[in-house]
């Protein structure tokens, strides 16, 4: 049965894939006349070399964990939720509304409320596509694409209208009250005598994201609901035989998915911007698709993939500072990483597998 040892499967192959992606990226850099080694050094140093770099990397990572989880849970029910972008935007609306509505005295009170409202609004935005899929058979891919566009319009309407601060140019809400300020890493680590940059956006949400990874794992592999979701995702006919109600599973899964996406708002809206700005999601919903796919819908995979993309975003920004490499280069590197680790996996896996099988045979296993 065994084709290769587990470490090769979970570590060696992805690392080889990444290596190839980086080599090709390096070639592209060479082609536009930049030094790839220096670029790599800058990226690593810029994203992990200082506490500020780490703070940025983890901030982006946090966003991608949430959207990755959103995509991941839907995938377990074999649903392709392209709507993470819109759901995260609505999550932001929920967070903003509740944080602006109440003069929060302390974040310990504000955070649960924000989690509740962010999740609720994200879930609500996922509900209609879910309901239409479950009851009317409308394809979830189309409806979620449409709901991304509709969300953008809705947010545009609200942020240039009722929610905008009168007299201000920016399409954004007022700043949230002081009491809604989430501790940043700097504030969190100071009591332990650890010096962390004051000026990095990473905040308590990162811990919430880690918690969500754990919750996701429990949910999918340790609860009955997760069991039902996976069973439904594997085979609808078998699920019906087992008494699992497809419509209910579709709707519940999408609600959870939307809630995860909506939770992203506690990081970017509550934790970083401290107000709701237009287009705050900035494509994280789409990155989430790649994160979940690359992470094989498993929380550890999602975490690693999110970290990788966080690294690319932060390290890529440093490329611009240090080497005047156009910011689109990061998009190219991202594309290559997704392609190599996600879609061209077998290109590396097959030869490696052959090597291992040859070794097994030689050893007479």
């Amino acid at each position: 049965m065994k084709k290769m040892p587990r470490w090769a499967d979970v570590a060696l192959i992805p690392i080889l894939n990444l290596l190839i992606a980086f080599i090709i990226s390096g070639l592209v850099l060479l082609a536009i006349g930049k030094d790839p080694w220096a670029a790599l050094g800058t990226m690593i140093d810029g994203s992990f070399g200082s506490s500020r770099g780490v703070g940025y990397t983890l901030y982006y990572t946090t966003n991608f964990i949430f959207t990755g989880l959103a995509m991941g849970i839907a995938s377990h029910a074999r649903m392709f939720n392209i709507g993470g972008e819109g759901q995260a935007a609505l999550g932001g609306l929920g967070v903003a509304l509740i944080l602006l509505a109440v003069p929060w005295p302390h974040w310990t009170l504000a955070l649960p409320a924000a989690i509740l409202f962010g999740g609720l609004f994200g879930a609500a935005w996922a509900f209609i596509p879910a309901y239409l899929q479950a009851k009317r058979g409308s394809h979830i891919v189309i409806t979620t694409i449409m709901f991304n566009f509709i969300a953008a319009s809705l947010m545009g309407y609200l942020l240039t209208g009722v929610l905008k601060v009168p007299g201000k140019m920016a399409a954004e809400t007022a700043k949230f009250p002081e009491g809604a300020h989430l501790p940043t890493f700097h504030e969190m680590l100071a009591p332990f005598g650890i010096e962390f940059s004051k000026h990095a956006p990473a905040n308590l949400s990162f811990l919430v994201a880690l918690l969500c990874l754990y919750v996701f794992w429990i949910l999918v592999w340790r609860t009955r609901l997760g069991y039902n979701i996976r069973a439904f995702g594997e085979s609808e006919s078998a699920a019906v035989y087992a008494g699992i109600n497809p419509a209910k599973i579709i709707i519940i899964t999408m609600l959870i998915s939307g809630a995860f996406a909506g939770l992203m708002a506690i990081n970017n809206v509550m934790g970083e911007a401290e107000r709701l700005i237009h287009n705050a999601v900035e494509g994280a919903g789409f990155i989430g698709i790649a994160v979940a796919l690359m992470g094989r819908n498993h929380p550890i995979g999602i975490f690693l993939a999110a970290l990788l993309f966080g690294f690319l975003w932060q390290g890529g920004a440093e490329l611009q500072f240090e080497h005047q490499i156009p910011r689109e280069m990061v998009t190219v590197i991202q594309a290559l990483v997704i392609l190599l680790t996600g879609a061209l996996d077998n290109m590396v896996r097959r030869p490696v597998e052959k090597l291992f099988i040859m070794r097994y045979k030689a050893k007479g296993l």
Partner: protein
């Protein structure tokens, strides 16, 4: 709304629909053969960029079209190698292609023209001419039918007619040829194709090559229409085409109907905008979202369940 306005709206509908339709048919070939393609957007974008650049440099839109199509096909081939040869996840591969095109087009364009993401404007001689169908001028003054013929039907660039023509051609290819039969079978049950002695891999490659070609035309249309390439100029049309494909249940005539409908909603929207300024403030976002809202409503109310090709999205693996 008077008659000429209606003509103008339909005229605009046709132009909006053209790139959608080409991309939608591209997706149709690909998905009918069992290869899901969410990389339509990226392929269009890549083609638009290369078309814009090459047409400017050579002064010939035809060479631009050729090069743009080649670029789109190259992206298709990446999709093919990943998802057909290496049995990779088709969705991941599509996502990657979208990113790749978005990034590379700008990186290369910057290095090439130094205008950032843009390519220089095409002079009129490096663009497609509007084709005036025979008698268009003569018939112009015939009531009703005259304007319909000379304004609406006549006077578009060649790609509009190519897109419209691609619909019956696609139908005929899919349902009236050996190739079409095999292609559809590859998307429904590749095992049946394989055991019938036909290579599934080759069929799927053909399908994605055709998809690359059509996306190339769609991208070239955009570059030609705007007379240059601008960063991210596809503006989500690839995703709308994908939605149209599902809406049309993977059928060519329905695809045309859907793309025309989407085109119509986009074309009509600006006419609906309130003429009072306060009205705009309230309504413009709503008008903007209207096509999407209507799509959801129509989908929920009238279209019902769309059953994709059964083997869609799965790599064909016969031996591990």
């Amino acid at each position: 709304m008077d008659f000429m306005t209606l003509i103008a709206i339909f005229d605009s509908t046709l132009r909006y629909a053209t790139p959608l339709l080409l991309a939608c048919l591209a997706g149709l070939y690909s998905e009918r053969a069992g290869v899901v393609d969410i990389g339509l957007e990226g392929k269009m974008l890549g083609a638009a960029f290369v078309t814009g650049g090459v047409a400017y440099v050579t002064g010939s839109i035809w060479l631009g079209l050729l090069a743009g199509t080649a670029a789109s096909i190259a992206l298709s081939l990446i999709h093919g190698v990943a998802s057909i040869t290496y049995h990779g996840d088709q969705l991941i591969s599509g996502v990657a292609i979208n990113f790749l095109a978005a990034g590379l087009s700008i990186v290369i364009a910057s290095a090439w023209f130094g205008l950032g993401g843009r390519t220089p404007s095409l002079p009129p001689e490096a663009r497609f001419q509007n084709i005036n169908l025979p008698l268009a001028d003569t018939l112009q003054n015939v009531p009703i039918l005259g304007p319909i013929y000379s304004e609406l039907i006549s006077g578009h660039t060649i790609l509009v007619y190519v897109a419209l023509l691609a619909v019956p051609v696609t139908w005929a290819v899919l349902f009236r040829t050996r190739f079409g039969l095999r292609l559809r079978a590859a998307g429904e049950n590749p095992g049946a194709v394989d055991t019938a002695g036909v290579s599934v891999v080759r069929l799927r490659y053909y399908a994605i090559l055709i998809a690359g070609l059509l996306c190339g035309l769609a991208g070239a249309y955009l570059a030609d229409f705007a007379a240059n390439f601008v960063k991210d100029m596809t503006a989500g049309r690839g995703f709308i085409a994908l939605a149209a494909l599902i809406f049309a249940k993977w059928r060519p005539w329905q695809a045309m109907g859907t793309c025309l409908l989407f085109g119509f909603l986009s074309a009509a929207a600006p006419y609906l905008e309130n003429k009072s300024f306060m009205g705009i403030e309230v309504a413009s976002q709503f008008i903007d979202a209207l096509p999407y809202i209507l799509t959801v409503i129509i989908l929920a109310g009238f279209v019902g369940k769309a059953i994709p090709p059964r083997a869609g999205g799965q790599p064909y693996v016969k031996e591990q």
